[in-house]
């Protein structure tokens, strides 16, 4: 109780000045110490070990399931005719969608000059990389003969055989591949100054060599910073249409087909909004334990969580609106088959999944209208978990219900996941969290250099409030 009274509440809106983003009256040294302590502590907290053990076990489970799949065949999954896509593509779209929040925080919030992004952008970009890795696994293993997946790429061969560029499945290859490479570059380049910090503070020779190699010799030169900032801005500007296009291309996997429930033009914006929505929920899921365990509460403050909650509210409302519009247009079209597809989602054999989705995606984020819910840490975590579940079920509902009741009633069939399906899904979380925990321990978890730029000390000793919109042409009075 006493600590709550003393803790500075930066979620209070004061029109006279902007809320501080770094609490505790800290200076650059303190911020650096706080972030580096996560990686430099002789031993990570016990909770890290526990979480890592669980994730590693799940990772082994994933490897076992994938090997079993490859050696036995796709029949170990519950797929049938007509449900040719089940958990595999659901998981793929789920993980790709999660990745989009990281790029949004890094790139789009940067373009909008949202300074609060600096505390969360590093680990959310890392989340993007690991989520895209998990996503890329599924199209690879679901093809049946994964030893010939190189055919996805336009490789020269003696048969003049090339992939079909009209297929959205191939657009996926290019879109997700480009997204992975650009995200990786953006993340690594952004990390250079912080890797240099690790290098300069390294205690052992091994750490100095490794971080020194990774930091590429960064020395904080202003001339370098100039080009660095330009490159960062350009990457942000490139990543913004990229993130919008990637999930649109993923949605084309469905929208370009003829299946009722899939063949609708609402999919690209609907999927992108849903991706951002689900991705922020995962960022929240990671941020809340991370700030607690690693002692970063003064960097990832309740204001940051509140801002993320507001974005979740906005995108959740968009997703809810999209659900409503889909249903309305299906009815308004007068196409009884289209309308049936949507009615059967709500009332048919998968109604339980549909209503889980509605409660988690439409009802739960609406709680964020209340400031109390937005600023209570455990509440934001709980709602974020609900949204994670809801977003997985959204993809499940879209894919499986549409496929299970396709064109001819004589073709309809129910999809029931097998134990391999379920363990593969669980195992993918193992891959994700293993990589993320390793990242927390060995790489800079917060973008220290960027956080320093939003601290008041970075603008000089003249405290004329917080200049929220730095402009290159600001008048800088010589001292």
């Amino acid at each position: 109780m006493a600590s709550r009274v003393l803790e500075f509440d930066n979620t209070i809106e004061d029109p006279r000045q902007r809320a501080p983003l770094v609490l505790g009256g800290r200076d650059f040294t303190a911020v650096t110490d706080m972030v580096c302590a996560v990686a430099e502590a002789p031993r990570p907290p016990l909770a890290w070990y526990i979480a890592f053990t669980i994730s590693a076990v799940l990772l082994v489970v994933l490897a076992a399931m994938v090997l079993y799949l490859v050696f036995t065949g796709v029949g170990v999954w519950g797929l049938n005719n007509p449900v040719g896509w089940g958990f595999d593509i659901t998981n793929f779209v789920f993980w790709v969608g999660i990745g989009h929040a990281g790029t949004l925080i890094s790139a789009i919030l940067f373009l909008f000059r949202q300074k609060w992004r600096t505390s969360i952008n590093r680990f959310s970009e890392a989340m993007t990389i690991f989520a895209v890795l998990c996503a890329a696994l599924f199209p690879g293993i679901h093809v049946g003969r994964i030893w010939v997946t190189y055919w996805l790429a336009p490789l020269p061969n003696q048969m003049a055989m090339w992939p079909n560029f009209r297929s959205p499945l191939l657009w996926d290859v290019f879109a997700v591949g480009t997204y992975f490479i650009v995200s990786l570059l953006f993340w690594y380049i952004g990390m250079l100054p912080d890797l240099a910090t690790f290098r300069d503070r390294a205690g052992t020779r091994a750490r100095k060599i490794i971080y020194g190699l990774l930091a590429l010799g960064w020395c904080g030169s202003s001339r370098h910073w100039h080009r660095f900032e330009r490159a960062y801005l350009i990457l942000a500007a490139l990543a913004t249409p990229l993130v919008l296009s990637v999930h649109s291309v993923v949605s084309f996997d469905f929208a370009v087909s003829q299946l009722p429930g899939w063949h609708t033009t609402i999919f690209p914006p609907y999927f992108v909004a849903g991706a951002i929505f689900g991705g922020f929920a995962m960022v929240m899921t990671l941020a809340v334990p991370a700030r607690q365990l690693f002692g970063l509460k003064d960097l990832i403050t309740r204001r940051h969580l509140e801002n993320m909650a507001k974005i979740m509210l906005a995108t959740g409302s968009m997703v809810g609106y999209a659900y409503l519009m889909e249903f309305f247009v299906a009815w308004y079209s007068g196409n009884s088959i289209e309308f049936f597809a949507f009615k059967s989602r709500a009332l048919g054999p998968y109604a339980w999944a549909y209503w889980v989705m509605i409660v988690c995606n439409v009802v739960a984020p609406q709680l964020f209208w209340f400031k109390r819910m937005r600023t209570t840490v455990w509440a934001t975590f709980a709602i974020a978990m609900a949204i994670n579940i809801g977003m997985w079920f959204e993809r499940f509902v879209i894919i499986v219900t549409s496929l299970s009741s396709d064109f001819l009633p004589s073709s309809w069939d129910i999809f029931i996941p097998t134990w391999v399906d379920l363990l593969t899904l669980a195992g993918s979380f193992g891959l994700f969290f293993t990589l993320f925990l390793l990242f927390c321990r060995y790489l800079p978890i917060v973008a220290m250099a960027e956080v320093k730029t939003v601290m008041p000390q970075a603008r000089g000793t003249r405290h004329h409030g917080f200049d929220y919109n730095p402009d290159e042409f600001d008048e800088v009075a010589p001292t």
Binding site: P156, D200, R230
Partner: protein
């Protein structure tokens, strides 16, 4: 302990040796951003060019203070973005919309192809946009990153300033200005005096690091590793070009080696050890009579070396034969030759309408041409069996007897278009008037 000794200790050299090293530049340390910017302005006004300010984060306003011009990186990115766009267009056009026959000079493994899907256009921009867009973004992003690193001269793992003990705080919370000795206006005393007045720490000297050559054990190990690294590619090449008695290792079996008996293989389950069993006694292949040549008149329409001029003895010209011939003619032949045999069947009519394919279209001969009327029946039979010019063979679709029936019907058709009124039976003559 003097700075010199400290620096010497850091680099594991004796102070005396340190004193003999070449000066890299002079370094001043600052506590805060304002002091750094003011100092930077002063150094710039001093006319120095080879100098830099170092900070743990990009300082707002530093570009103006130092006089840093806008970088050309955005132009590089733009150029590579356009290149990526062109690459996306070319890739898709080459692999999906190119007629390989037009570009025969391209080697086989790089040949393009034209995807004909339901008559859709070979190149349709909306379908090709996603990949074009992704290629543009990819090349532009790669250019931004690689361009930025290259323009900054990174990676540069060895920097004179890294040897300086205090400089390690540049990535945490300290700010520095360093003027290089290579600057044209550098003068050890005057520059030092200017730096001392900037409001930072005392001026420090930074020396070029002495790069000692790698130790002997390092070089030998490196050489050994390099030699060992050559083994795999050389071995792979040898395996590729050499001949072996054993078959290659085949990991993905893919139903490539099937446990079934093929023709000419041995099978000890049978008394004669053959996998292939002889035909059951009394089996007659379809082509036997033709192959053995027992009845060329009936089976081939040939008598000796000439086409048969008369029907074979097995064929008796009756009304039922002609009706059969009419039925089969209307089914198989009338589509091109027309119901009356004059060559205006629906296929021929459509071909005439479709001007694109008249270049390869040979119209069906009218069966009433004198040429056809003069041909012996055996020739007609052979035409039906084996085809002629662009007419396909119908020998697989019609039995031998049916073909003779059609020939008989053709003769009847020809007669019908080249007859006089006297040839018509009297009772039917009135209908024609």
């Amino acid at each position: 302990m003097s700075e010199l000794t400290l620096a010497a200790k850091k680099r594991h050299v004796t102070p005396a040796a340190a004193a003999g090293r070449e000066l890299y530049g002079l370094l001043v340390e600052f506590d805060d951003v304002e002091a750094l910017k003011a100092a930077a302005r002063r150094v710039r006004e001093g006319g120095y060019q080879r100098w830099d300010a170092h900070s743990p984060f990009p300082v707002h306003g530093m570009d103006e203070a130092m006089g840093i011009r806008h970088t050309r990186l955005p132009w590089v990115v733009f150029f590579f973005g356009l290149l990526g766009c062109a690459a996306g267009v070319l890739l898709q056009w080459h692999t999906n919309a190119m007629d390989p026959q037009q570009f025969k000079f391209i080697p086989t493994f790089l040949q393009g192809f034209d995807f004909r899907i339901s008559g859709k256009p070979l190149w349709s921009f909306p379908a090709n946009i996603p990949v074009i867009f992704e290629m543009t973004v990819l090349l532009a992003a790669l250019a931004a990153v690689i361009g930025m690193l290259a323009m900054n001269g990174l990676p540069r793992w060895h920097h004179a300033l890294f040897g300086h003990p205090r400089f390690q705080r540049v990535t945490t919370d300290r700010f520095f200005i360093c003027v290089e000795a290579r600057d044209p206006k550098f003068h050890e005393t005057r520059t030092s005096e200017l730096l001392a007045t900037l409001g930072g720490s005392e001026v420090e000297r930074v020396y070029w690091p002495q790069r000692s050559p790698p130790p002997a054990w390092g070089r030998i190990t490196g050489l050994i590793v390099l030699c060992l690294a050559l083994f795999p590619p050389l071995w792979a090449y040898k395996m590729n070009v050499s001949l072996k008695a054993q078959p290659r290792i085949h990991i993905i079996q893919d139903m490539d080696n099937q446990e079934k008996y093929k023709a000419q293989q041995k099978n000890v389950a049978f008394a004669d050890s053959r996998a292939m069993r002889p035909a059951i006694p009394g089996t007659i292949a379809r082509e036997d009579a033709w192959a053995l040549g027992t009845d060329p008149h009936f089976y081939e329409g040939r008598v000796g070396n000439a086409w048969a001029a008369s029907f074979p003895p097995q064929i008796e010209i009756t009304e039922s034969l002609l009706r059969r011939g009419q039925r089969q003619f209307n089914i198989y032949c009338a589509v091109c030759h027309g119901l009356d045999g004059s060559g205006n069947g629906i296929v021929a009519k459509r071909a005439r309408e479709k001007t694109q394919i008249t270049s390869g279209w040979v119209p069906p001969t009218s069966l009433h041409d004198q040429t056809v009327r003069d041909r012996p029946v055996g020739h007609l039979f052979n035409t039906i069996t084996n085809g002629i010019r662009t007419m396909p063979p119908y020998g697989d679709q019609l039995s031998v007897a049916d073909r003779w029936a059609i020939v008989a019907y053709i003769r009847a058709l020809e007669r019908s278009q080249n007859a006089r009124l006297e040839d018509v039976p009297p009772e039917v003559r009135s209908e024609l008037r």
